[in-house]
Symmetry: C3
Subunit: 269 residues, 3 copies
């Protein structure tokens, strides 16, 4: 039975419990800027991070992981080879994997790599509006890591990417939009301070990979991941005095937020 | 009209407002130790960080950035190529760029690279006394990343480097000294806790690059950057209980410090 | 005279004072996930970190360092060459060095590298139980960076590794076990929150390298390092509200813990 917006908050709460219970091993090949914050976000959540990002190891490791993140933020040559290996292994094993096409559009190394990886059919793609538009092949991308397009502008692109991959696409913004090409779910939680901490978006990709391990419906697990992540941001923002204290409070909130809080605070439509 | 020490605090306050208004895109090629803190410092300040550090992408990205930082802390082979590309593009476009010659002196890869980059005429060089003395070719450098020389010992070296580059040199220490080879400005703000957080110096280089985008007088923009940065450190130190809480409070202070506080607290001579 | 468990707490207190007084230069070749936290832990402790991890520089730098850490967490090709260079230089100069065989067992690049480095006779090996068992050649390793074996299970493996290296082996866990193959010391300080911050184990390797510079008995200096580190964790946990605030409080505690607190709180048997 397909879950509906009215019962997705309850599912998000249950999925959080299951992540904490099963402690999924999340293999993250990610950029040097956010790798520490990403590992700490996964640990706070109750997942087990591992950042194996060299050739000959990334493939075998992806085979035993519960989920995989491939983030294109600083794609050095060894990492690019490791990404290809890991994706092939994940696809071979049926391991869910998330593609985060950071800052693609004009940059000439990561952009063709993102298309190549898109064609390997990621379970979930997460990006900002400009990145999703670029990945659909219909836009020129944003200004570096920022989005110059709105989330609603990206909806058709998101549907197109989902159709191409057969998976789910999550567009991050003030209201997050998640689609499998057919259903469209919006989540209106979060706080602007999340955009003032580097990795605020990138770590979400790893959290989506963690949640993808707990249920076969990856639209729903992605909604759950985004809800948990953005509600933790709201809790943290309520006590933060700036971006430094927000990042600290956010990790605390990821560890302490209760399933009941998720069920009651999630704004999903 | 050349600004004087008496009106530089007001200029620093105005420059901070302009950085927050324009959100300059600061391309940072920096070391793995401090890359996260550097991005967070830029975000807290209101600038937009992007850490594009691979060949074939660093050049195109530097062409569209508002400012560039090249930091030699962990200069892996791909980064060295990326630095050369980015500097060539910045010079071609007239983009201001900052060189931070971390730990040069005896180390045999970064030291010749620093001389090569010095000869490419950086807009600003930022370093500690030992690094500036080494870059002038008159000393053997410090002990790793620490300075074994005083800022005043480095003044003649700083003038020599400025004469060689045609740019500005900022020597970090208890009192910061900034010179274009002719004028010499001293800033007596800051706190020793800044030396107990890794990246306390390195992130300043990125902040100098951000400020360099808002005015053509790079001696003045560098003074403004150092004043804002070190006043934020003072504010943070007043409430910190150690280096961990200082780093958090420092990011909060970079985000919250007001132009009026900058104008009233800056100690510039 | 060999120190006994009854006077090791006093020695740990004295060793902390000596680290703060001498500020040992700790050369750390470590993984991208924890490099920032490791540098900050060393700075908080009063040591001087330097992360020189490229070929041609790692050897010369290890020659002048007070201690060296080689951590296999993300062993990119340049780092692997840098590790070999640094270890050869450390051995040539008699510089104490620490090997942290992160996640070895099944992974095919780091595992043979760990054996190669083990045979170069590290002064101290630090790992979790699964890593030490794998390094002894008697087990298959853990699940990524986590241990699936208990510390006591690893005692015989630790003795075997110590016999092979002629050095000290520290097994991290709820109770830390440290052996030189003959004496076995247990330290019952610490807090589980240390496992919820990435680098909680890895940074300890750098701290062990710092302490190894202050006395010729590396079993005792390792006990001192582990005691100081885990007591700081206890102090931090008492005021933390989650893993984010714990990491901040931990760095503050490393900076503020007094020798008297070490002497009174250390639980060594």
């Amino acid at each position: 039975m397909t879950r509906t917006p009215s019962n997705l908050p309850t599912f998000a709460a249950e999925a959080l419990e299951e992540v904490r219970r099963s402690s999924p091993l999340v293999h993250s090949i990610t950029n040097s800027v956010v790798v520490n914050f990403t590992a700490n976000a996964l640990l706070a959540l109750g997942a087990a991070p591992a950042m194996v990002d060299i050739p000959d190891e990334a493939g075998p490791f992806a085979s035993i992981a519960s989920g995989l993140l491939v983030n294109l933020g600083t794609p050095h040559a060894e990492q690019r080879d490791a990404m290809r290996e890991a994706v092939a292994a994940a696809n071979s094993e049926g391991t869910p994997w998330v593609l985060d096409p950071v800052a693609i559009g004009a940059l000439p190394v990561r952009t063709p790599l993102a298309f190549e990886l898109r064609d390997a059919r990621p379970t979930v793609v997460r990006g900002n509006a400009s990145e999703i538009i670029a990945l659909a092949g219909v836009g020129a991308g944003g200004r570096g890591v920022d989005s110059s397009d709105s989330v609603d502008d990206a909806l058709e692109a998101a549907r197109a990417v989902a159709a191409a991959t057969g998976g789910v696409v999550a567009v991050s913004g003030p209201v997050d939009v998640i689609t499998d090409g057919d259903r469209v779910v919006r989540i209106a939680n979060g706080d602007a301070l999340l955009t003032k901490v580097t990795g605020g978006g990138c770590a979400l990709g790893a959290v989506i990979a963690a949640f993808a391990s707990v249920d076969a419906d990856r639209l729903d697990t992605t909604v759950a991941a985004v809800a948990v992540y953005t509600i933790a941001a709201e809790i943290a923002a309520a006590e933060a005095r700036g971006p430094g204290s927000f990042a600290v409070a956010f990790l605390d909130a990821l560890a302490n937020v209760t399933p009941a809080e998720i069920a009651s605070r999630a704004v999903i439509s």
